[in-house]
C-alpha cells in the first residue's frame, strides 16, 4: 500500500476484533478515512470463536456478519490483514506508524473454492480451535472468515505441498514468491483494539491442565459446543472421546490470584453460566453441571441470567475455590479437592470433564508495546493525557464483555474523530 493513501487525517485502528471493527466502522461511517490492521488472516477476533453470546444466547456470527456487511459497504474503511504494528512515533495529528505485513501467498483472485487445501497433505494444529483439531497447510481460517480467501501456511513453503497447492489453483491465486513488506504510514490518531488472550492454563500447576487430558479451558469448551467446531458440537472427553455429561466448572482459574492475574476477568462467571445452558441444549435433562466459585460476579442486568441458571436443578453451585485436581488413573476422571465454605466440608469429587473458566489478559504485553502509553498493573491501557491520540478500545482497556467492549469502541472512535477534526480545522 503506498504511503500517500494515509494522511494525518487518517485514523488507524489496530486489531480487527469486535471492538476494532466497531470503532473503525463508527469512524468510517462518520466520513473519516480509516485503516484497520489485523494480525490474523481474518477479522472477527475472539468473538468468532464463541458458540453463543450471553446474555441473549444468539449466535455471534450473526453480529459479525452485520459488521462485515457494513465493512464491505464502506469506501472509507480499508482493511489490512496479516499485518502488525511494529513502531509508532510522533504526536497527535501526526504519527508515523511502521507496519509489518506478512505474506498470505494467496492473492485477490482466490474464490475460496478450496482446491488448494484438498491438494495439500501437511496438517497443523488448528489455531482457531485452540489445537483441538487439525487444519491443512493451505486453509481458510474458519467458515465465516473475512476476507474469504485461503492462506498458505509458511511451513509448507519449499515442500512439494506448496507446488501442489499452486498447481491445484485454477484461478492463478497462489503466489509463492510474496515477500513480507514493511510499510510506513502517516496517521492522525490511533485506536488500539488488540484485545485479549486466555491466560496460560499450564501455569496453574495444581489444576494439572498440562497433565490431565480431561481438564480443558472455557475457550476450548466454546469450540467443542460449536456444531462447526472440531467435535461437531459434541462435548467429548479428550482422553477417550466419550460424551461428558458430568461437567465441573472452576471459576477464577488464573484470575483474582496474586500468583497469576490479579484482576477479576469479569466475563468468566457469565461465560460459565452460559456454558451450563449448552449442556442442557445438548443433553436435555441428562447432565450434571457443578460450578465451583468464590463468588459469582454476573454484573447488573445479566444477574437475571444468573438467577435462571440457579433455578436449574441439574446445576449445582459449590462455594469453594478448588485447591487441586488429581486424576483417577483408571477412568481418567479428574478429581477435584477442596473445602467448601458452606459448612467447611472437605470434598474429593470426580467429574467426567473439568472446564477452567480461564482469565483474560491483554494480548499485547506492556513490555512489547510499540508505543508509549500508560498501563495499569494488569497491563491494560489506562486513559491518560500522556497517551496523546492513542485510544484503547475493548479488551485492550479492560476485561470486558462484547456489549461493554463495543461501548468502549464507540467512545474511542469519538475521541479519535475529535483529534482528526482538530487537524482538519487547522489545515482547512
Amino acid at each position: 500500500m503506498p504511503e500517500a493513501i494515509a494522511t494525518n487525517q487518517t485514523i488507524l485502528v489496530v486489531g480487527g476484533g469486535i471492538s476494532g471493527m466497531s470503532a473503525a466502522l463508527e469512524a468510517a461511517e462518520c466520513g473519516k478515512q480509516v485503516i484497520l490492521v489485523e494480525k490474523n488472516p481474518s477479522v472477527g477476533g475472539r468473538v468468532a470463536q464463541l458458540y453463543k453470546y450471553f446474555p441473549k444466547l444468539c449466535h455471534p456470527k450473526c453480529g459479525l456478519e452485520i459488521n462485515l456487511r457494513r465493512t464491505k459497504a464502506n469506501k472509507n474503511l480499508r482493511l489490512m490483514t496479516l499485518t502488525e504494528v511494529t513502531a509508532v512515533e510522533g504526536e497527535p495529528g501526526n504519527y508515523t506508524v511502521t507496519l509489518k505485513k506478512h505474506p498470505r501467498y494467496v492473492n485477490e483472485n482466490c474464490t475460496a473454492c478450496g482446491a488448494c487445501a484438498r491438494a495439500v497433505e501437511a496438517e497443523f494444529d488448528d489455531e482457531y480451535n485452540f489445537g483441538l483439531g487439525k487444519r491443512k497447510g493451505a486453509y481458510l481460517p474458519h467458515n465465516l472468515a473475512y476476507p474469504q480467501r485461503y492462506v498458505i501456511d509458511p511451513r509448507i513453503l519449499g515442500t512439494p505441498d506448496a507446488e501442489k497447492a499452486k498447481a491445484a489453483c485454477k484461478y492463478d491465486a497462489i503466489d509463492l514468491d510474496m515477500q513480507p513488506e514493511e510499510i510506513k504510514l502517516t496517521v492522525g490518531a490511533i485506536i488500539w483494539a488488540t484485545g485479549w488472550k486466555p491466560y496460560d492454563a499450564n501455569k496453574i500447576q495444581p489444576y494439572g491442565y498440562d497433565r490431565y487430558p480431561n481438564v480443558i479451558t472455557s475457550v476450548e469448551f466454546e469450540r467443542m459446543a460449536d456444531p462447526f467446531g472440531p467435535t461437531g458440537g459434541r462435548i467429548l472427553r479428550p482422553s477417550d472421546g466419550k460424551e461428558a455429561k458430568d461437567v465441573a466448572f472452576i471459576q477464577c482459574a488464573g484470575s483474582r490470584d496474586r500468583n497469576h492475574l490479579k484482576h477479576c476477568s469479569r466475563i468468566c462467571c457469565m461465560a460459565t453460566l452460559k456454558q451450563t445452558t449448552y449442556l442442557r441444549e445438548k443433553y436435555g435433562d441428562d447432565y450434571k453441571a457443578s460450578i465451583y466459585y468464590i463468588d459469582i460476579r454476573a454484573i447488573d442486568r445479566i444477574d437475571d441470567f444468573h438467577r435462571r441458571v440457579k433455578e436449574d436443578p441439574n446445576t449445582r453451585f459449590i462455594k469453594s475455590k478448588v485447591a487441586s485436581i488429581t486424576e483417577d488413573k483408571e477412568t481418567r476422571n479428574p478429581i477435584l479437592h477442596g473445602v467448601d465454605i458452606e459448612g467447611y466440608h472437605r470434598y474429593s469429587n470426580p467429574h467426567d470433564l473439568v472446564v477452567l473458566a480461564i482469565g483474560m489478559e491483554p494480548s499485547v504485553p506492556a513490555d512489547a508495546f510499540p508505543a508509549k502509553v500508560r498501563f495499569n498493573e494488569e497491563g491494560f491501557i489506562v486513559p491518560d493525557e500522556a497517551n496523546g491520540a492513542i485510544f484503547a478500545a475493548g479488551c485492550s482497556e479492560d476485561a470486558l464483555d462484547v456489549n461493554r467492549a463495543v461501548q468502549s469502541a464507540t467512545a474511542s472512535a469519538l475521541h479519535a474523530i475529535q483529534v482528526i477534526n482538530r487537524v482538519a480545522g487547522t489545515e482547512g
Binding site: 477464577c252 496474586r258 468464590i294 469453594s320 485447591a323 477442596g338 467448601d340 467447611y344 472437605r346
Partner: protein
C-alpha cells in the same frame, strides 16, 4: 486463665479481630482473606484440623475468641508452606497460624495435652539448654512424655539404630552431650530476646 488473658479480654471487648491484629504475628492480614478455601484444601494435614485456616480466619472475624484460641488447630501446622504458596490473596498463612498458637500459649489458653505443643516445648528446652539439639534425649523425651513410652520407643527402634549407624546420634549423649562453645553468651542472647518480646507485648497490652 491468666491475668494477662483477663487483661486482654477487657481491653479488646467484643473485638477479637482487632486483638488479633495487635497481638498476633502478621495478624493484620486476617481481614484480607476472601474465604476461597484454597489454603484448607491444600494443607496435607487438612483433614486433621478441627478448624482449617480459612475457618479460623472467619471465626476471628466472627469474634469467636475462645473457640479459636483454645482450639488445637493451630498446632497441626507443619510449616509446609503449601497454603502460602497458593493463597490467591498472598496471606502469610503459616506465619499467622504460628502467631495464633504463640498468642494462645502466652494467654495460657493453648490445649495442655496437645502433642505438637508439648513437643515444641520439649524441643525448645532441649535446644536452649546446651545450644545444640540432643537427639537422644529429645527422642526419648518424645517417646516417654508425648508418646506411649516404651511402646513408641520400640516402634522407632529401627530408626534409632539407623541413626546411630549413620552417626546422626551418639549413645554417650545421654550423659552430658555436646554443646555450643559459648552457652553463657547464648543464654544472654535469649534473655535479651525475651526481654524485648516482653516489652513489645507490654506496650501493646
Amino acid at each position: 486463665m491468666t491475668d494477662y488473658n483477663q487483661q486482654m479480654i477487657e481491653k479488646y471487648r467484643e473485638n477479637f479481630l482487632k486483638e488479633v491484629e495487635h497481638n498476633v504475628e502478621e495478624g493484620e492480614w486476617v481481614k484480607m482473606c476472601m474465604q476461597c478455601g484454597v489454603c484448607s484444601g491444600s494443607c496435607p494435614f487438612g483433614p486433621y484440623w478441627e478448624h482449617p485456616p480459612q475457618e479460623l480466619f472467619m471465626m476471628i472475624r466472627a469474634g469467636k475468641r475462645d473457640e479459636v484460641l483454645k482450639s488445637d488447630s493451630m498446632w497441626m501446622c507443619t510449616s509446609c508452606y503449601n497454603c502460602i504458596a497458593r493463597c490467591p490473596r498472598g496471606l502469610p498463612i503459616t506465619h499467622i497460624i504460628h502467631g495464633l498458637a504463640t498468642y494462645a500459649k502466652r494467654l495460657g489458653l493453648a490445649p495442655k495435652e496437645q502433642p505438637t505443643a508439648k513437643f515444641a516445648q520439649l524441643f525448645w528446652d532441649n535446644l536452649t539448654k546446651t545450644g545444640r539439639v540432643n537427639e537422644l534425649k529429645l527422642g526419648l523425651a518424645l517417646y516417654f512424655k508425648v508418646g506411649e513410652g516404651l511402646k513408641t520407643a520400640l516402634e522407632n527402634k529401627d530408626l534409632g539404630l539407623a541413626m546411630l549407624k549413620a552417626k546422626r546420634m551418639n549413645p554417650f549423649e545421654l550423659v552430658g552431650g555436646h554443646k555450643c562453645k559459648d552457652i553463657k553468651g547464648l543464654h544472654a542472647i535469649l534473655a535479651k530476646a525475651e526481654e524485648i518480646e516482653e516489652r513489645k507485648i507490654g506496650m501493646k497490652a
